[in-house]
Subunit: 326 residues, 2 copies
C-alpha cells in the first residue's frame, strides 16, 4: 500500500506543485481577511484530488496548456466552499487536523468565505468562454447544494436506506469529481466518447472515494484522519457500514445499535461497542466490497481512452482512493 502511495505521489508531484501555486495565485480578493479565512482550510494539506483529476483528464485527451492548472482550482474552491459550509452546518470542530474555520473566526465569516469561493470558482469557469463548461460547473454546484440539503433533512433518520445513501454520496462527492473529469475532457475538446468515458470514470471514482472516506470514520483514529472519531455518527449521518449492519442485525442487536446512534454525545466505549456490532454483521466488509465494485466500474470506464501513462495514473488514483488509510 505505501508502495502505491509513494509511487503515485512521486508521479503527480510536479502537477500538484503547479496546482498549489495556482490555488494561491487565484485567491486574490481585495480584502486580506478573505485570503486568510479561505487560506486557513485551503492550505491545510488537502489532497488536491479534484484538481489533479482535471489535469490528468485534460492531458489524457491531449490538452496540456498551463491554463489547466488555473482551471483545476475551480473544483478545489467548490470543494473547500462546501467544507466550510458543512462544518458550520454540522457543528464540526476539527478539519484536516486543524480547528475549523468558524471556530477561529466565526460562523458568519465561514459562510461568507464559502460564498466567495463559490463565486470565485464560477468566475474562473467563465474565463474559459465555453458555455458548456460553465453549465457543467453551475449544475455541479446546484446538485451539491441539493444533496447537502437532502442529507441534512435525513439527519438522524434511522430508516435511511442504502439507495438514499448512494444518492447522497453521488450528489455530495460524485457530481463534483465527475464534473472535474468531464470538464477536463471538455477543456481538451475531447471527442464525445472520451468525454463520456471520463465522466463515467469520475462518477464511479467519486463513489469509491466517498465510501472509502465513510469507512475511515469507523477504522481510523482521530489523529490519522484529522477529525474526531465517530464524527459522522455524532452529526447524525448514517453511512454504509452502519446502514448495512442495521438492516442485517437481529432485533436485539439492532435496538442496541440504535440506542448508541441516537444517544447524543456517546462515549468512546459506546462507539467501540457499535463498531463490534457493525463488524458482527459485516458492515465494514460490505462497504469495502461495494467500493471495490465501483472501483472496477471506474477502471472499466477508462477502457475507451488511449492507453498511455496518464491513463495508468488515473487507474492508480482510483485504486488509491479505495486503499488509502487516511
Amino acid at each position: 500500500m505505501s508502495g502505491l502511495k509513494d509511487d503515485l505521489m512521486a508521479r503527480v508531484r510536479p502537477d500538484i506543485e503547479k496546482i498549489e501555486a495556482q490555488l494561491k495565485a487565484n485567491l486574490t480578493p481585495h480584502f486580506d481577511l478573505v485570503s486568510r479565512t479561505a487560506g486557513h482550510l485551503m492550505f491545510a494539506g488537502g489532497k488536491r484530488l479534484r484538481p489533479l483529476l482535471i489535469v490528468l483528464s485534460a492531458r489524457l485527451c491531449g490538452f496540456d496548456d498551463p491554463f489547466v492548472y488555473k482551471f483545476a482550482g475551480i473544483f478545489e474552491y467548490l470543494h473547500t466552499a462546501t467544507l466550510l459550509h458543512d462544518d458550520v452546518v454540522d457543528g464540526g470542530t476539527v478539519r484536516r487536523g486543524k480547528p475549523v474555520t468558524h471556530s477561529i473566526w466565526d460562523a458568519p465569516t465561514a459562510v461568507l468565505t464559502g460564498d466567495f469561493l463559490l463565486a470565485r470558482a464560477l468566475s474562473i469557469a467563465s474565463e474559459t468562454q465555453n458555455p458548456r463548461i460553465i453549465s457543467v460547473v453551475a449544475e455541479v454546484t446546484e446538485q451539491m447544494a441539493e444533496g447537502e440539503i437532502y442529507q441534512l433533512d435525513k439527519k438522524g433518520d434511522l430508516s435511511f436506506s442504502e439507495a438514499e445513501y448512494m444518492d447522497v454520496i453521488f450528489r455530495k462527492t460524485g457530481v463534483l469529481i465527475q464534473g472535474a473529469c468531464r470538464t477536463g475532457a471538455m477543456l481538451a475538446n475531447a471527442r464525445p466518447q472520451w468525454e463520456s468515458a471520463l465522466s463515467d470514470y469520475g462518477r464511479n471514482m467519486g463513489i469509491v472515494f466517498q465510501i472509502a472516506d465513510d469507512i475511515l470514520d469507523y477504522i481510523a483514529d482521530a489523529r490519522e484522519l484529522g477529525k474526531a472519531v465517530g464524527a459522522d455518527l455524532k452529526e447524525g449521518k448514517l453511512t454504509l457500514p452502519v446502514i448495512y449492519a442495521l438492516k442485517q442485525a437481529d432485533p436485539g442487536d439492532r435496538a442496541e445499535m440504535e440506542g448508541i446512534i441516537t444517544r447524543p454525545d456517546f462515549l468512546e466505549a459506546d462507539f467501540n461497542c457499535l463498531i463490534e456490532l457493525i463488524n458482527r454483521y459485516d458492515g465494514i466488509e460490505y462497504a469495502q466490497k461495494t467500493a471495490a465494485h465501483y472501483l472496477d466500474c471506474a477502471l472499466d470506464s477508462l477502457k475507451p481512452l488511449p492507453d498511455t501513462p496518464t491513463r495508468d495514473l488515473l487507474a492508480m488514483v482510483a485504486e488509491y482512493a479505495l486503499k488509502r488509510r487516511k
Copy 2:
C-alpha cells in the same frame, strides 16, 4: 408620493406578474424541502426591483423575448441568497414581516438554501450561452461576498467612515443592481454606449436605494419596515445618518451616541434618544441629500438612452427608490 407609487405599480404590474411566475417555475429542485425553504423568503412580498430593472433595461435596448423573465430571476435569486446568509450572519429575527428562515428551519438549512439559490442563478446565466453575461454574474456574486465579509469585519467599528460606508453599499447593493441593468443591456446586444449608460444608472440607482433603505431604519416603525426598529445598529452596522452625526457631534454628544451604539440590546428609549442626537446634527438630512445627489446621477446616466416610456419608467423607479417609506 402615493401617486408616484400607484402610477409606477400600475405600469409595471404586467411585468411583475410574469417575473413572479418565472421565479416560481425556475425554483424546481428535486427536493420539496428546497422549494419550501427557498420559497419562504422568496415569496414573502419582495419588491422584485432587481428583476424589474433587467426587464426594463433589456426592453429599452430593444429586447422583449419572453426569456427575459426567466433571466430576470437570476438577480432575485442572488439577492435572496444573500438575504438568507445575511440573516444567519447577523442573527436577524424578522425579514419582510415574517420570521427569518433560519428560525423556522435552522441555520444550516438557510445556509444551504442560499447556496442552492446562488448556484441556480449561475445555471440560468449559463443558459444564455453568453460568456460576457456569465462573467458579469459571477463577478457580481464574488464582489457581493467580499463586500459582506468586509462589512462583517468592520462591525461595531466606531471609526467606520463615510468612504468605507460608500464602498460597502456599492458592493452590497450597487454591484447587484448595476449587474442587473448591465446584463439586461447585454441580453439585448445593446451598443456599448447604452450598456455603459445602463451600467452607470444601475450603480447610482443601487446607491440611492441602499442609502434610502438605511435611512428607513431610523424613521420607519417596525411594522411598516417588516424588520425590528434599530436593527442595523443592533447588528453593529453603522450607516450614513449615524456616521455623519458622529463626525459632526461635539465630544459630549458623541460620547453619548457611542454609549448607546455600543450598548448591547439598547432599549427603545435609548434609540429615540439616539435619533434625537442624529437629528441634532442633521444626520438623516445629510443622508437624504447624499441619496438625492446619486438620484441626479442616476437620472443623468439615462440621457444617452432612447427617450421612450421605458426610459421614463426607469427614472420613476429611481425616484421611487429615494421617496419610498418602506
